[in-house]
């Protein structure tokens, strides 16, 4: 009860602030012209509908029976809604396995990337060692290397390491993220050295200082790096596609892209798989919307 009465005004205040912000933005950009505002609203709604159309079409198709999907090109299902496609992909076929593979690989890629990059960023920012300038220059220069051109030698390497069709083969080449190292280095540079120094004076070693002071202070940027790494890993197609041939080790993007043919043309089923594959990231977006927007804004992370 007490908490509710505390929370509610806060929400209301926030909403009011947002409302005021919105009104101000409107006034700034469009002025007081009603026609300009009407035009903007119409354009915005139209554009939104166009952008959501493929989602709508896919969702509707996924709830059709296979016959409906493949017979008439009507928008609405002729013989009613059906969960058949979903029960099919979830009980028959490899989709649950691919989903699991995607979760395992994306989570591991994210964890390893964040830890490895944060440590390296800290090393470049706060420690002194011989060869530091050279290593930093090499890391920054490597940002320019388009990973896609390395598929041929990387695949050879995976053959030599016997990592083809293994989780390690999917994961390890994806954890090298010089951009993230650089972003984190910049962030650590901005932490006032007094804060870190105080810990050292109190007798904390480099590891203690890193884990108890630097990491907690960088929570926001670490979350942003983690989210973008996760999105990238979940959606990565080319590398997992190259390094897996066994259907039982495929991730979702690879699985639904390469194994569909064996279903024949089952549109409802294909769309149901597609929607299930998309769901986790849409949930991530809803949970972390603010961090994602801020992450793009401040770091320009991501990109295809």
């Amino acid at each position: 009860m007490a908490t509710a009465s505390l929370v509610l005004p806060e929400v209301a205040t926030r909403r009011a602030i947002r409302g005021a912000d919105n009104r101000r933005a409107t006034r700034l950009l469009l002025g007081s012209s009603a026609s300009a505002r009407t035009l903007a609203v119409i354009a915005l709604v139209l554009m939104t509908l166009v952008w959501l159309l493929p989602f709508a079409w896919a969702i509707i198709t996924s709830f059709k029976t296979e016959q409906d999907a493949a017979s008439a090109a009507t928008v609405w299902p002729a013989s009613g809604w059906s969960l058949q496609a979903y029960t099919n992909v979830l009980t028959k076929g490899d989709l649950p396995i691919w989903m699991l593979n995607s979760v395992i690989t994306a989570v591991l890629v994210t964890l390893i990337t964040v830890v490895v990059s944060a440590m390296a960023g800290y090393a470049f920012s706060r420690t002194m060692f011989r060869g530091r300038a050279f290593a930093l220059a090499l890391t920054v220069a490597s940002i320019m290397v388009p990973g896609q051109i390395l598929i041929v030698p990387l695949f050879q390497q995976m053959l030599a390491f016997q990592m083809v069709d293994t989780y390690a083969g999917i994961i390890l080449p994806q954890v090298v993220a010089p951009v993230m190292v650089f972003i984190l280095k910049k962030f650590f540079d901005g932490i006032p050295s007094e804060l870190l120094d105080a810990a050292r004076v109190d007798g904390a070693g480099p590891w203690r200082t890193f884990f108890t002071i630097a990491v907690p202070l960088s929570k926001s940027i670490l979350v942003a790096v983690a989210i973008f790494t996760f999105i990238g890993a979940w959606n990565n197609f080319l590398w997992p596609f190259i390094v897996t041939t066994d259907s039982a080790l495929m991730t979702i993007p690879v699985g639904i892209a390469t194994v569909t043919e064996t279903y024949g043309l089952q549109y409802a089923r294909t769309m149901a798989s597609a929607m299930l594959a998309a769901l986790p990231l849409l949930v991530v977006f809803m949970l972390f919307q603010r961090q994602i927007v801020r992450g793009v804004a401040t770091t320009g992370l991501g990109g295809q």
Binding site: G31, A73, I149, L154, I252
Partner: protein, 318 residues
Amino acid sequence: MSATTSTAAVPPSADVRKSRRRAEREAERRAQRLHSGLSGYWFLAPFAIVFLLFLIWPIVYGLWMSFTDRTLIGTNPGLVGLENYIEAFGDAQVWQTLWQTVFFTVISTIPLVIVALVMALLVFTGLPGQWLWRFAFFASFLLPVAVVTQVWGWMFQPDLGLFNTWLGNLGLDPVGWLTDERFAMWSIALVTVWWTVGFNFLLYLAALQAIPEHLYEAAAIDGAGAWRRLFSVTIPQLGRTTWLVLILQVLASLKVFDQIYLLTGGGPAGTTRSTLLYIYDTGFVNYRLGYASAISYIFFALIIVLSLIQLFNRRKEA
């Protein structure tokens, strides 16, 4: 780029640049290195290992391979010197795929910048329901490429697809969206715009929020209408972001592979084959790893040149 255009027009003199660099170095030194001794190596070690193993080594190994006639099955690669490079420069396929890649880059990048800007402007007008608009434009960016191509492949489907059904309802002939040489690359560009514009949209949205309010207030006092404000305040203020979006987009579009591979496989008649697709085909379908590596390095050189231009430009602006 700054609010007053007069300062941006004058390039900083050598003196200014030198003192700025000195100040940067000073700041670097002031961000005291806390720990000396071996700890730096320990912090760096995990990254150094994966970096050397999975980035530097493939770069070096690939370069070496490009001087061999290595095949996927062959065991003893023979050194052939520059033969692969010479062959590549005389290979019509290399030039054709390179041209198609550049064509794709142009027809995808222009709408990806303009549409993103329009979206951001419309959302920035501050209409209620911000969450919904942001979601609508950004959500497709979150989809795995296989999902995007499944959904669009289904919409492009010649007989049952949404687009041809609509055309049929209008009494028009069906279009071979992905099978007609005239349309296939445009269709792929359309899919790409729908799929990836959300990221650029967010970059623009953030930039819009950073434009100082007083500029608009001043424009309003001067009696500038909505269009005038857009072209005299907003768009010039977004110059830097536009450059960033443009260059990121060009670099991304040059590397196009996934959506083409999944939608057309490079067809019809190879007209949508991009350079990366040709590299893939050469290496993994025809097993000519040495030759594939050589093409990779030519392509890499092109991307490096573009990246350097961008870096140079950013340096100049900073």
